[in-house]
């Protein structure tokens, strides 16, 4: 383990090179694991046609008591995309028809070590019900010091054990934003039209060493259209880290979960949420900017609440995610 003092003494260029090298190595390891597990699947579900001319938004609808809506039609809401009100949707479906590509990001830095055992228990509890669908993929990465470490890829629900987590490097600084960037990049590198990318983050939210900024991490998350579920490991009241986690969850359309909840409640909350999501698609509107701010609002009943990512980056017009296996 490289000490904090040693890392701080390194020049930014060396740190950047080290980080890039580490990410390339990590990507290589990850792809090797995925190909060996045979997890990559051809898209078989034609429901989610997504290309450069179509937008796909995953969102959650709740009633005034914050209960998931069972019945929702296209007439119940409108999407405000870069200020334009959109009502002509191509499709509206439930997320259960999608496969999940989940990366669990696991903070193993100094600041969370006092809660490490509990964190492991929560993580294992979360993985228990997986997979919902045979083609779901769950991977786990830990981050500490200046690095992100793959613990397992694709089939973690069946293979990850507490011993394996304990054997991973821990302690040191908290490269949270770099780890988010790495996870979002991994999810983005294997886009498929009918797969929903999700990051479940266990952390105190207090980044101490990342090369990436918060904004860069958020941009990568929105580009990859990933929802972040943040499990807060802070033991005390409001803090900078807690705000970071809340903003990450809010901006990405995910959810913030307090660590005060027991492990079962954490996993239930996240899994129920993923289960109740909906997916709406519509034609991409021309815009001067690549970034499209998004908001979903009710068409009739103002008591309905909608949660989604705050925006997306339009894909380049000459590419199509259809072509990706």
């Amino acid at each position: 383990m490289v000490s904090v003092a040693r890392i701080m003494s390194l020049s930014p260029t060396i740190l950047l090179l080290r980080n890039l090298k580490a990410r390339l190595l990590l990507c290589g390891l990850f792809f090797a694991c995925l190909s060996s597990s045979g997890a990559a699947q051809e898209s078989s579900n034609g429901t989610f046609y997504s290309n450069a001319s179509e937008v796909r938004i995953v969102f959650f609808a709740t009633d005034k008591k914050n209960r998931p809506l069972q019945n929702l039609t296209k007439d119940d809401f409108a999407v405000v995309d870069n200020e334009e009100v959109i009502r002509d949707f191509r499709s509206l479906t439930r997320s259960t028809e999608m496969k999940l590509d989940v990366i669990v990001l696991f903070d193993a830095s100094d600041s969370v070590l006092p809660r490490f055992q509990q964190e492991i228990a929560d993580l294992l509890q979360l993985l228990l019900p997986w997979p919902w669908n045979p083609d779901d993929e769950v991977s786990v990465l830990s981050f500490s010091g200046t690095q992100t470490y793959p613990l397992c890829a694709g089939d973690c629900a069946g293979s990850l054990t507490a011993d394996r987590i304990m054997a991973a490097p821990r302690g040191g600084s908290t490269p949270l934003f770099d780890a988010l960037d790495t996870a979002a990049s991994l999810l983005q590198s294997r886009p498929r039209p009918d797969v929903w990318p999700v990051i479940i983050l266990f952390s105190d939210g207090d980044d101490t060493i990342s090369i990436d900024s918060y904004s860069q991490a958020v941009e990568k998350i929105l580009t990859s259209q990933t929802h972040v579920y943040a499990v807060d490991l802070n033991r005390f009241g409001p803090s900078r880290g807690r705000r970071t986690l809340q903003e990450l969850a809010d901006t990405s359309g995910g959810r913030y979960v307090e660590t005060g909840d027991d492990a079962t409640r954490i996993s239930t909350a996240i899994l129920e949420d993923l289960h109740s999501a909906r997916v709406v698609t519509y034609a991409l509107r021309p815009s001067n900017s690549d970034f499209h701010a998004v908001r979903i609002l009710p068409s009739h009943d103002l008591n309905l609440q909608f949660r989604s990512m705050h925006g997306y980056y339009a894909p380049p017009s000459n590419t199509s995610t259809e072509d990706h296996p």
Binding site: E83, V85, P286, L297, P298, S299, H300, D301, L302
Partner: protein
């Protein structure tokens, strides 16, 4: 006597319900964004009075509402003053403001009119904007 009272009550009820007497116009919201609320606070004192302490910046919803003949830009009074984004909404003028009927409920929400433009002029502007937006695509296709 009792019957007369009921009759008066009924007539008053009809008179106070604009929907019943058909004074609502119909329109559709085509654009929406959260802008500043300054249009609400631009009184004489704000513009010409003594400088006041900086206020917390609140954003208010701003809607572009198109009707058959006129297009309105209307602004809510607070961040949570939303109107349902249905295909068609009912509205009417009321003392220099626009009262919008929320859902099918009886209540109305009042919005400040920030801007108005004749529908034909707005359509012409939209066509011009669309052409400008599509110009790069057309050039790309021609190559």
């Amino acid at each position: 006597m009792k019957q007369t009272a009921w009759l008066i009550f009924l007539l008053c009820g009809l008179a106070s319900s604009p929907a019943q007497i058909g004074i609502y116009q119909h329109g559709s919201v085509v654009r929406m964004h959260m802008g500043d609320c300054t249009v609400m606070h631009q009184g004489f004192l704000t513009n010409f009075g003594p400088p006041s302490a900086p206020q917390t910046v609140e954003s208010c919803p701003e809607y572009t509402l198109i009707s058959d003949n006129v297009v309105f830009v209307i602004v809510g009074r607070s961040s949570n003053q939303l109107i349902p984004l249905a295909e068609t909404i009912d509205f009417r003028f009321q003392k220099n403001e626009l009262a919008v009927r929320v859902d099918d409920a009886k209540r109305e929400v009042k919005f400040t009119i920030k801007d108005m433009i004749v529908r034909s002029e707005w359509d012409r502007l939209q066509r011009h904007i669309d052409e400008k937006m599509k110009a790069p695509e057309v050039r790309e296709a021609e190559r």
